[in-house]
Structure formats: C-alpha cells, structure tokens
Amino acid sequence: MLSLPVLRWGKPYDSLEKDTVLHFNTGEAMAEVHQANAGLLQRDMKKASQAREALRQFTCADLIDKLKQAADLYVNETLPMGDGTQSPDEFVRMQSASTGLPEHMCRFNMTKNHFVLQNMDKMLDALTRGLDLDILSRGYGVESRGVVVSYQAQSSALGLVLPSNSPGVHTLWLPVIPMQVGLVLKPGPQEPWTPYRMTAAFMQAGVPAEAISIYPGGGDIGAAVLGSVDRALIFGGTPTVERYKGNPRVQAHGPGFSKFILADDVVDDWEQYLDIIADSIYLNSGRGCINCSGVWASRHTKEIAQALAERLGPIEPLPPEDENAGLAAFTAVINDRNMGSLVWDMIAEDLKEDGVTHCTEPYGPRLVEKERCAYLRPTIVHCTSPEQAIAKKEYMYPFSTVVECPQDKMLEKIGPTLVCSAITNDEKLARALTDATHIDRLNIGPIPTIKLDWLQPHEGNIVDFLFRARAYQITEDKLAALKS
C-alpha cells in the first residue's frame, strides 16, 4: 500500500492522521493518505510568497518548457508516488478503482492533461490574449502596440479544493505554474492520484518543489484553503456556488446545467441531431459539467425523449477494465448509503410530479447496486413544462430531461447554463442567446456540448482571476529602455 504524505511547499510531512483509499470493487486498501490539519495549512500560507519567488527564478518560457517535459513524464514514466512509485498503467488502474470511472476514460483524461501541458504556450497565448508573458513576471511592460500595461498578481499561490469524482477538472490548474504562481492543492478524498502524480512530473521536469503544496484532509481543510489563500477555486454543488457568489477571492465551479436548444426553425428535423445530443449526454459517463442535462424544444419533445431513451436506456454497467464500459460507478458512501442510491431517491421523488415521464423505465431499473458500489443507468425524463422540478436538475451520470417550452420563454426559463448548444439559423434568437448573461459558453449550431476549444477560456478565465490589469506609468527613459 502506498503512503502519500502531506506536501508542505515541496517538503513531505507525515501526519498522525491518515485516510485510506479503497478499491471500490474489491475493498483493497490502495493508499494511506496523510491528513493535514487546518492550522498547519494556515501557518504554511504565511510563506506563500516564497512559492512565487521560487518560480520567478525562471522565465515563463522556461516554465512552459518544463511543463512540456512534465507532460511526457506524466503520461509515459514511472514516477515517485509517496513512499513508492507508480507507472502510468498503475495510475489508470488506481484512479479507476477509487473514482469508479472506467479505465479507458482515465486514460483519455491523461491524454487530455498531456495535450494541455504540451500546448501550454498556445493555451497561455489564448488565455492572455497574446500578452508577452514577461509582463506577468515583471508586473508591467510594453504591449505590441507600444502601450505600457501592468498586470499585478493577486496572490502568490492558487488554492484548489478539488473534487473526487471528476478527474477532468485538473486541466484548469495546469496553466498556473508557468504564470509563476504557486499551487495549494486539496485533493478529493478519492482522487489523490492526479495532484501527486502531476506534482511528481513537475518536479522531475525541474519545477521548484517549494512552489507546490498538497494538503489532503476533510472539509476543514477545504475551508482553510479558501480562507487563507488569496485566490482559490472550489468545485461543488449549487449550495457551494451560492455560498461563494460575489466573493472575489473564490471562484466556485458548480454544476453545468449544460443544454441543447432545438429552435423552432430546425426542430422538425430533430432526428438529424440525435447522435450529437446522445453523445453529449453519455460520453465520459455524463460526469462532466459540460455534459448535456437538458434538451429544450417547443415541440416533438416526447418523440425526442423516446428516441434518446431507446438509444441510451439499454446501456448496462460493464467492468471498469472493459474498453466498452460507458458508465462510472458511484463509489462514495454517505451515512452508510451509496451515493448512487441517494441520487436515485431524489430522482424517484421528482418523477412523481404530474407531467413528468420517465422514458427509460421500459429498459429496466436504473439503479444497479453492487456489494461496494452502485451504478445509475442512463436516464431520460420528459417534462411537459419547465416549471417541473426535475427540469432544472443535473446529476453525475448520463441523465437528461427533455423539456417542452415555447421558444419565446426559453431564455427566461433555462436558468444558469455553462454550455448551451443552440441549433438554429434564426438570427434573432442567436442574438438573444449571445446577449444572455446566464449562458457561459455558447455554441451556435449542431456542436456537442462536450466539444471544447482549448484555446477559448472555460468558465472563468484563470488569468483574469489571478492578475489585475491596472494603470502603470513610467518615465520616457525607462520606457525607451524597456522597448530596446
């Protein structure tokens, strides 16, 4: 069994409290993870400026090169993991075994992280809109159009309260190191693997160890990260997002409520779009915030729901090592009950409402309970009105409602939407969607909600979050020196 210590600005620390990461199928203990206490983290954060100082010993370009090296190490090499080592295959097996995600999806997530690291220069160019990265290091500089600009780092480190159930989110913090900002990671209890492995790859590639801290622990550690790091990201449910709304120090990433809108001008041809809608609901086991959880149209909604149910309803859970496995297991247990079972209770309650039809019901029970985990099979629900409670729900598996709603009411009724794929040629509707502030990423046309353009920012630009643009004036001679 591996033993993963707390990492305090690169220095391993063995705690007296440990949590065990178990294999969801066999119950085998895979790792003991040392647990930090909040005071320890808070005390370390007094030294956060040293992380940025250590990174500033290198140029941003140097750090980008190191991350490119780290990309290959992360994907291909056996790396240190606590008191042992971990090969890429072991990483995939362990991540799958603790999160419930099928192994091929874990492997795909590795590829995704590799792609982001390998393309870090392009990624940062897109995120900074072409800014010379030395300006981030120096704090000021001259833009290509000859104007002095200043970007001031708002924190020496970025804190992250990471989830257990979605290894895909790690791409969000990868650009932080090359911007010379340290990392304070609180891993999800079931997914310590990526933070530790990525850190090992970074260090082996020459990123200074004192730039990264990892504090596994409970809810008090999450609160301590948010309370003692000047800029932090947290992943959670709607209550988490609501709690941190308006707090400039915290960026809360919650459910996506991503949707398809089939506009009146195309909805009669709905069958043409069934493949991309089904893929958007199902791929990556429906776990992502960019997976579709609602299909909205003014007519044909029953037929659409039935067709999606026919497509997705028969899908069964398969062993995690099966290349065809499409469903992730629910491995978390709350008060002696598996999360999957608790989720199904909530859905079953909502299904009782008038006008709500469970379209996947004919394909057998959705809840599949195993000895140590549970699965939820794809679930499609038809709603005759956007007012029905289930119409605005999202769950961490292939779940979607198909909601009947007049087009002129859709924007008012859809609620916050991370990704909206609107299939329409109606310019007036497209304009209204473009102006809608409750839609984050907008796709106009038959584009899957899960298709990301890596050169466009995800929800909340990390550069804008970490740096503040401000006025900065220097004398002519200094300006000339800067330009030379």
């Binding site: 007296l16 409290e17 206490n37 005071g39 320890l40 005390r43 007094k46 309370g227 008060n335």
Partner: protein
Amino acid sequence: MDSGLQTAVDAAKDALNAHTLEMVHWHFSPETGCPFWLQKAGELNFNPLTDIKSYDDLRKFPPFEDEWLRGGPVRRWVPKAYEKSPIYVFETGGTTGIPKSRVVIDDFRIDYELFSKTLPDEFFPPGGNWLMLGPSGPRRLRLAVEHLAQFRGGISFCIDLDPRWVIKLIKKGWMEHLEEYKKHCMDQAVTILTAGHDIKCMFATPKLLEGLAMRLEDEGTSIADCGITGIFSGGTEFTPQWTRFAMEELLDERVYMTPTYGNTLMGLACSKPVTAEDGYKISYYAPQPRAVAEVVNPDEPDEIVEYGGTGRVRLTTLTKELFVPGFLERDEGEREMPFATYPWDGVSGVRPFAQLAGGTTVGVY
C-alpha cells in the same frame, strides 16, 4: 496488569463502591436529597436506598436524560442540605431554545483544586497570573479557571467570548463575521498579554490557542516569548495530530501543554502525559470517585467495551451537589487501561459520536 497495579485498581474500585453508596444515600434521603431525585425515586421499580450496594448497581437506574436539565425551577436540583447555601447556575448549550442548567455550590472549586495538584509547578508557577482564553457568560469554565488561578495564588485575566453568537455565525454562514469575532477575541488576548500583567499560565481552547499563536507569529513574537510557560487546554476535540502540531509548531516545544476533557456535568478529566514516543495519544481519566467515565456499546449502554475497543462515552457524576447516573455523552472513544496515577479505566481518541456528529456544531471557540 502487574500485581501492584491490580491492588491499586481493586482499592480504587472499593473506594468507588463506598462513595457510590454514600452518594446514593445522600441524594435519596429526604433530609439531604434534592426534590428531583426524591420525586424520581417514586417512579423507580427499585428502592435506591436498599437496592444500590455498589457502583455497578447504578445500572438499575434508567439512562439519565439531559433534557431533564432544561428549564426551571432549577431549585429542584438543589440538595436540601444546601438549600441555604449560595447557589451558582451554569449553563451549557442554549444557542437556540432553553439551555441545560446545572446548579453548583462548591463543586467547581473542589474539581479544580483536585486538578491543580496535577499541574507541575515548574510550568504553572505558584503565584503566576493566568489568561483565561475561553468562553465567558453563564459558563462554569470561566469561574473555574479563575478559582484555579486564585487557588494557586495568581490572578486570572479573562476575555469576553460568547460561544452562542459564534454558533449562530457558523449556522448563518457569516464566515467574515466569524473571522472578525475571532480577531476581536485575539485583540483582547494580545492586549492582556502585552499590558505588563506578567501572565505565566493560560487556559485556551485548541482553536483559540491556534489563533493566538498565529496572531502572535504575525506580530513577530510567540506564546513562549510572551512569557507563558504552561497551558491547560480543553473545551473542544483534541486530536493527536493537532496536539503534535501545537507542541512542535505553535509552542516550539518551549511551553508545557496538557489536554483536558470535561463538561459542566462531570467536571474535569485529566490526561495521561502526552508524548511524542506514544504518538501524541491523548487518554483521559475522570476524577474518580467523584465522576466516572466509561466506554460503552452505543446500542447496549450497560455493556462496557473491551480494552482498546470503541464505544460511546458514558459519564456518571457522584458528588454531594449532583447525582447523574449513566449519562450518555455526545462523544465516542476507545477504552484505556488503568495506570499507576489513575488506577481506573480511561478513554482515548475522544471525538464527536459518529451517529450524532452530523447534527452538532462542534469546536466553535
């Protein structure tokens, strides 16, 4: 268990049995007992005066319900023998609704005088002044620490801290207010420590101790540099990891700290000396025979778990001022072996009882 320790354990058990008999007679005799127990005696299916012959016989009593302590008249708890004495009332809980009350005449003084004997003079110098960094208001702790300081020849300085407001802030999610209130408490503590009062000893809850150490570190000093040599800490949960962190990093191994476990009903349980060699394990021992702490099967509270086994903490208070047989605490822990200093069972790893933990706001000050 060696024979010397076994002899001590047997003697402690005999003393507990004798003390139990004395206390039951005190509380169930009309000349000395309180109205509550005299009335309760009529509802029991046994006669406490004739049927209780040992500590183990207390199992005949139904489990003590702490709800009985809510509301008035509190004089129903005053033993007749003390009806003309000055009475204190101490409260516990009470953020919303009616708090639980306990009447006291001298128990807090007796408990803390006994506790005083466990404090090493080297670190808690007689005559040294104290800082009480804990809850104020209708709490036993504030007066008890003040008495401890006075009993040891010192003077106790206190801060204002309303834990009920702290709980409300947490429940409302007003975390910024919570931080400000914490700062307000730290301001008071730092003012006392830097005003030339020559403070040597301190009571602090773990969270306030941590807050004070960090605040002083920001100001370029430390608890040790402020002249504190001994701390007794308690009031909220202690973990070995936190204790190690406190000793190594907050106190820089320069200040003596002893964890305690207690509440308004029982008094104060001392800890076996905490050492790095023992993994900073914290084992508490109740002040027998005045109070007994047992680790019991949560589903069968009369069944004591094996040594090392986990169970719910059950407290029994046996003083002339209060009789509480078998009160199931909101904590759980592991049963510990007797040792020479405390030849009776202890409890280690005390933490909120898992089956109740979700519904309780703990560790608030």
